[in-house]
Symmetry: C2
Subunit: 301 residues, 2 copies
């Protein structure tokens, strides 16, 4: 599914964003010389060197559309990654998904302890807003307020955390395709939507000029989740860096369990084509968004 | 220690703030008609009908100094209460302080389950920022940014959550009076400081005009914590609505264990006198702040 020329633009962007995010986390999480050292250690353990940084990459890609400064995009990406990492730390807890491995390393509660894991997640949660609201992110306080508002919505009960609750309920209640879609739209979709909208917020594009971005984000988010479900069924645990096959073991309804592998794969491809169709008004400034869409389903399926 | 005339002003303010906060939480936490209902139920369980709402009261009292609108003070108080309640929910978890009772009710993980408790805390954490950043809180986005920045700092690793980590470490390491003071200044002091500063932020008083408020908050916060430690030693569990004697059982260093009951009580009184001395430049517009100071040590000691 990779379009010609997509790979190089994506590879170099992934590398530069991942390096920049690690560098920012390193600066943000300087270990203090008091008894909070363990807390900062735990935050660094979970935050540094992790994953492909798809969310900060999406912010950079959407910022490309509106000629937003690299620093602004990086700061917003850092804030989102704070939220994403905090959610992984809490989701991995024994009381939640009980995952011992994350990004190829012991998850926070295994490397440290549960209390430290909970607190390190809480702290990353706060740091997201600290990063967003500082002047370095954007000179206009109205823009910073809009970012804070959108991120708090995307990560809270009307977004990611609400979706995580739905996911917990899905272990005990039969979910149909509509319910799984709704759950995904909150659990992973809301944050992806914020990433894609962030470029427009930073570029001071009014809400009515962001419809196509929401369309792209919705289709990409769904495709991304289907690809994740496919990976859970037949992915390589070493490449994924986490325990696979958990949804099936828990008897949870997923896109794959409800549609079957083949239909799920077709659906993911159709969604990616649809995602890219929302970008038809753009030229090469949207190439990174297009490449990310292709990559979303090329990962392991 | 109650000054003449303090009680009526305080009683009526406590009642009206507590009612207003409950009403705001009721509106904020409308239960959705989907599988997130349990999550909202859990948030309501922890957030509504709880405590004396000392923190929102402090915001109102500091807002009185600068003729800030009631609604602005209430919204900031609501945001702080979101943070305070989320921290109680997480602190009560088995992996943290393992408390089964809170404000006279089963704590969230007992009334629901651990996963729901963790998520409901996370959601209240987000709601704090959602509330702060909305225009209803203050028309000026610069002011809203300042509020978000100060609250995120006060609740994160440089504030409350950092102090909670120090508190966990205190169970295994000997803490002296300096370390206990520093721990308290983060764990409870940072949020109290924000409450008292909030009136000045809302009133657009520049940072250099807030020194006396920080002085008041520091002394009040310390006195408040000493009173709390005293209550832990010889308070009435029914009135406190939580398990008492836990610090002693855990062998944790507290102001009381390090100073003894009598010296601790004297110290709390001296701090309250000092706290009120920071308000000497004000007339009756500071009466509520003075009454709160008196009340802080009159609760159970």
């Amino acid at each position: 599914m990779m379009t010609a020329g997509a790979a190089p633009i994506l590879d170099s962007a992934i590398r530069s964003v991942a390096e920049a995010i690690d560098r920012q986390f390193d600066l943000l999480l300087t270990i203090p010389e008091d008894s909070r050292a363990r807390l900062y250690d735990a935050m660094r353990h979970s935050a540094i060197g992790g994953g492909k940084r798809m969310r900060p990459l999406l912010v950079k890609a959407s910022a490309d559309l509106f000629a937003v400064s690299e620093l602004s995009a990086l700061r917003v990406g850092l804030a989102i990654e704070c939220i994403h990492v905090y959610s992984l730390v809490h989701d991995d807890l024994p009381a939640m998904d009980n995952d011992d491995m994350r990004r190829g390393k012991p998850s926070a509660h295994k490397a440290y302890d549960e209390a430290t894991a909970i607190l390190s997640g809480d702290c990353l949660h706060d740091l997201a807003f600290t990063v967003l609201v500082e002047e370095t992110t954007h000179p206009d306080p109205f823009v910073r307020c809009e970012l804070v508002k959108a991120l708090a919505l995307a990560s809270g009960p009307a977004g990611m955390a609400g979706g995580q609750m739905m996911d917990l309920v899905a272990e005990t209640q039969p979910f149909d395709l509509g319910a799984v879609t709704r759950m995904q739209q909150l659990k992973t979709g809301a944050l992806i939507d914020f990433c894609v909208e962030a470029g427009a917020i930073l570029g001071r594009i009014p809400p009515e000029g962001r419809t196509h971005l929401h369309g792209y984000a919705r289709d990409l988010g769904l495709a991304f989740q289907i690809a994740d479900d496919l990976m859970d069924v037949d992915g390589d645990p070493e490449r994924a860096g986490k325990t696979l096959g958990k949804d099936e073991a828990a008897g949870k309804a997923t896109f794959v369990s409800l549609m079957g592998v083949d239909r799920a794969r077709d659906q993911a491809r159709a969604l990616i084509d649809q995602a890219k169709s929302h970008l038809r008004g753009y030229g090469q400034e949207a190439d990174l968004l297009r490449a990310i869409a292709d990559f979303a389903i090329a990962r392991d399926c």
